[in-house]
Symmetry: C2
Subunit: 565 residues, 2 copies
């Protein structure tokens, strides 16, 4: 901040010159007094310079009949999960009043390592959405993952120099933390020594382990699905990120937190937001609406969507409507119906019924080329999916991402809904293909494949025959990533996700249209309607979720922590 | 923080090894859930590593029948005002449960400049009291002051490198700030750019000016004596430091803040604490007791004395009893009577009925010599206090530090309680002596003088004759600072304050005994009992308080902002 910038803001505050923008006659949420206040809000240089006094502005907006809130903040998201580039994500969420998101580029880092982090930093620069970063702490998720990269403490440490990096992202490896694994401890102490924040991820971590985890400096958790678990964590000093996203919805279970003395230690997060969910429900505005419907005081709900996150992340000038704060504002019709009318980001009107022009950030060409070329494997053939003898049988459970261990079976039997599942390594030309059987998916013909495959993002394929599986994987390689449905060896629907195999290059609406189409085709081929054909599939290779998973080297028993074949 | 330190703490948290100290069966204040909780508190390496689980300790203390609170924090104090060295201050306040103070070395900086700041940093290093610093922002207080130093932005900026420096101290020059004075703006932006805190000092600053002041980044105020003034400031984002010290007591007026939704934006501060006040009342513990007596919920009162200050100052690991937090703990008999039993600082028992041994910090010898040699003036004689013609007459008001403009008088007239007052420049051998008359003080014989004279700390003297005044000033020069009472040219009582003319080198008790003696002698010589003979006097040269003040160059009309003679 320069003396001349700050002096100009003060001149506007003093009415020695006109403010750049004045919201006249505003009713606004004062997060300090926790009440609605009335009066002008004056803005200059992207900063709020005055409230509750009469101001004249070069531009003035009448706020009669509306309510001005601080801009909404998502405390934890993986932007890649929206399957679009950050610029498209911004286009989608700005009209919902989101002005800041804290992203963990964990997905792309599993594909591209630190280049993935750099890519996301560049791809989110200068948007009308403030994108802050937490550094992926657990790449790969386990030693059994064959991902695109492995990030050690020394790989991520230099990123703390970046202005938009707030800390270390969800420390999923809580076991490594409480057992004092050297690299985990290095990541922890680096974050602390840089004065940064450490996000947690430790569902139901009990007593002494939770003490140890928090002692490490992990002061948040977004994995609470249970009120008692959340209360334990609150009592030990963790902020609770109440998650209401696509893959997990915890608001209902945690609503009582927002009606108690601990409300000020709670914020909102989505973790994953998929295209259709963003388009149909909204973002943080949706969570606020749901909380209010659930009986939460609207001002408390707004605070959870704004200032509590700002305080936790030490974003000093965000989350409030007060002098010196960033002019990030979300203007709604009323606190109860919370329909976003106008959005101001850094003092600029970025949505007013109409979205402002958004310039696509320029990404370093070398990095961009690298992101568009992340499939390092040869075409496959049916024989790659053959394996002698019986194979472990994974049982999918409708509406869940956990799976059952269903013993062994001899091979595909469509009549019994026994299909073949495989994970094809795609990062380092290893030729590894892990093969198993799966039941509960329902496919009757063809094959489906996706390169969104947590967390290593290899290629997962399920098919009714080895030939169809090979066709699906080859179609996906052709697209350089995405989601495909194949029948009789031909592509019947495909969503290209050429950026690291995770993100499309088109708009959220178009991406969603294609995603609907691949889903529709998957259902037409018999996939059970209780299952999301690709989201559920995308977790089938994540070896931290019980019971059986398919990895690049075979079927893995998570409970026994070993390969079955 | 090193990996091995943090790993050791985690091992203790995990019960893989014994904690160094365990408080067994503790009832403790959980500032997050805002309730009393029960259970063990385990400490290793000065850090709380576990709560609410059974722990074994190398040392264990039974907490039955006691309540454990976070260590108490004073949000704003000038340590020099206790008239003793920081080590003696620590000896006095640790038994009252204070574990952290945030000091502004404004007094000594007016005498010794940046060397004064360095001196206080060294003099408070390694105490069983965490002394944090705010950098003096307004030295001198006005352009009319002739102090020992003038601190520009570039003089104080290097101190932001010091670990214990938290920000820029009370920005008393709010006029300079809202009028964008170049040096003030440089100080403001330096603090912001270093990610530091800016304390305010702006009683009753109205509307747009307050907006401008807060826009600068000033997010606290400790000058509120009026509830409405405090509410305005809270609404604009300032934290309120509820001040209850020796010179000003605002708790009663501001109690309602602690019984409203804004309680979490309030903390406690003393600003100035004089020896007798510390000895008879206590410190932050006293304010908590008074607040509770006034009807404040005891847990809210504890939060105001602990975590709210920690949060405002971004002292991330202070102010709570939770894993990873500093083991600064104040153990009391009950929340209601709040009598301190035991104090733990950085995991060490520093008071347990008995105070621990406290090592006196070693101060650089050059700096020490400089601090003991701050009287740069020659002996004075009666003729130095003579001035032709009539002189402005200052009216003292019992119980106030403001004064009245009583016109002019011709000279001393003891029968009418008209005495001579003078301020003798003592920093730079200028020979300046400002002379006026004063009424309302009551002295009937002799003279009194003090080198505690806000803010420049020249020598203020009041006398019944020029000879007595000269004797008093010479006695004070002899002592190298302090407070003296003289009768018939002879010293009748004296408190030596040889360190910068502000602090004694003996204990608080001894200092207080001598202070009582000089006061007693002053009262014996006729000083009105409604007036504190030296505290009131010490403000008579501070030209920001209406109406008349004596400066080194004459009587100053604060309302008219000019010299009268």
């Amino acid at each position: 901040m320069t003396v001349s910038d700050k002096s100009r803001q003060i001149r506007a505050a003093m009415r020695q010159e006109k403010a750049e923008l004045v919201l006249k006659n505003a009713s606004f949420v004062n997060v300090f007094t926790k009440e609605l206040m009335k009066g002008d809000i004056a803005i200059t240089d992207g900063v709020i310079v005055g409230i509750c006094e009469d101001y004249e502005g070069v531009k003035e907006l009448d706020m009669q009949g509306k309510v001005v809130c601080p801009g909404l903040i998502d405390g934890h998201i993986h932007l890649e999960s929206a399957a679009v580039m950050p610029v498209e994500f911004a286009r989608a969420v700005v009209p919902h009043g989101t002005t800041t998101v804290v992203t963990d580029p964990h997905e792309i880092a599993n594909v591209m390592g630190t280049d993935g982090i750099r890519y996301m930093l560049e791809a989110s620069e200068g948007l009308p959405l403030d994108v802050r970063f937490m550094l992926p702490s657990c790449v790969p998720a386990t030693p059994f993952d064959e991902g695109g990269a492995a990030l050690k403490a020394e790989d991520i440490e230099p990123f703390y120099q970046e202005d938009r990096v707030l800390g270390l992202a969800e420390l999923m490896n809580y076991v490594g933390c409480v057992q004092q694994d050297e690299d985990v401890m290095k990541k922890v102490t680096d974050a602390v020594n840089h004065g940064k924040i450490l996000d947690g991820h430790a569902p139901f971590l009990p007593g002494a382990e939770l003490n140890a985890y928090v002692t490490a400096g992990v002061y948040s958790d977004h994995e609470c699905s249970d009120l008692e678990d959340a209360k334990q964590k609150l009592a030990k000093g963790q902020y609770i990120m109440i998650r209401e996203g696509t893959a997990a919805q915890n608001l209902k279970a945690l609503l009582p937190l927002l009606m108690s003395k601990t409300a000020d230690r709670c914020m909102f997060a989505t973790d994953d937001k998929h295209p259709s969910d963003l388009l149909t429900k909204g973002h943080i505005d949706y969570i606020i609406r749901e909380a209010v419907k659930g009986g939460v005081d609207p001002i408390t709900a707004v605070c959870a969507g704004t200032c509590h996150a700002a305080r936790y992340f030490n974003m000093k000038t965000k989350g409030a409507i007060a002098p010196g704060y960033d002019a990030d504002l979300t203007i709604v019709d009323s606190l109860e119906s919370f329909q976003v009318q106008t959005v101001i980001q850094h003092g600029q009107i970025v949505f007013d019924g109409q979205l402002c022009d958004i310039k696509t950030p320029v990404i370093d060409s070398e990095l961009s080329r690298e992101a568009l070329d992340t499939f390092h494997l040869d075409r496959v053939s049916a024989s790659d999916f053959l394996k002698e003898g019986s194979l472990p049988l994974i049982g999918m459970i409708p509406g869940e991402i956990v799976s059952k261990n269903c013993g062994y079976a001899d091979g595909v039997d469509i009549s019994k809904d026994i299909l073949k599942i495989a994970v094809v390594e795609r990062h380092h030309h290893t030729g590894h293909v892990g093969i198993g059987l799966i039941t509960g998916y329902g496919l009757q013909a063809g094959a489906v494949a996706t390169s969104i495959a947590h967390d290593s993002h290899n290629i997962i394929v399920i098919g009714t025959s080895e030939e169809e599986m090979a066709a699906a994987v080859n179609a996906l390689i052709e697209l350089k990533g995405g989601i495909v449905v194949v029948k009789d060896g031909e592509l019947v629907a495909g969503l290209p996700l050429p950026v690291a195999g995770l993100m499309s290059t088109v708009s959220l609406e178009d991406t969603n249209r294609m995603l609907d189409e691949v889903k529709e085709q998957a259902y037409l081929l018999g996939v059970q309607h209780e299952i999301d054909p690709f989201m559920t599939l995308s977790f089938m290779s994540l070896p931290v979720i019980p019971s059986l998973r398919v990895l690049t080297q075979g079927v893995f028993d998570v409970d026994a922590w070993k390969y079955l074949c």
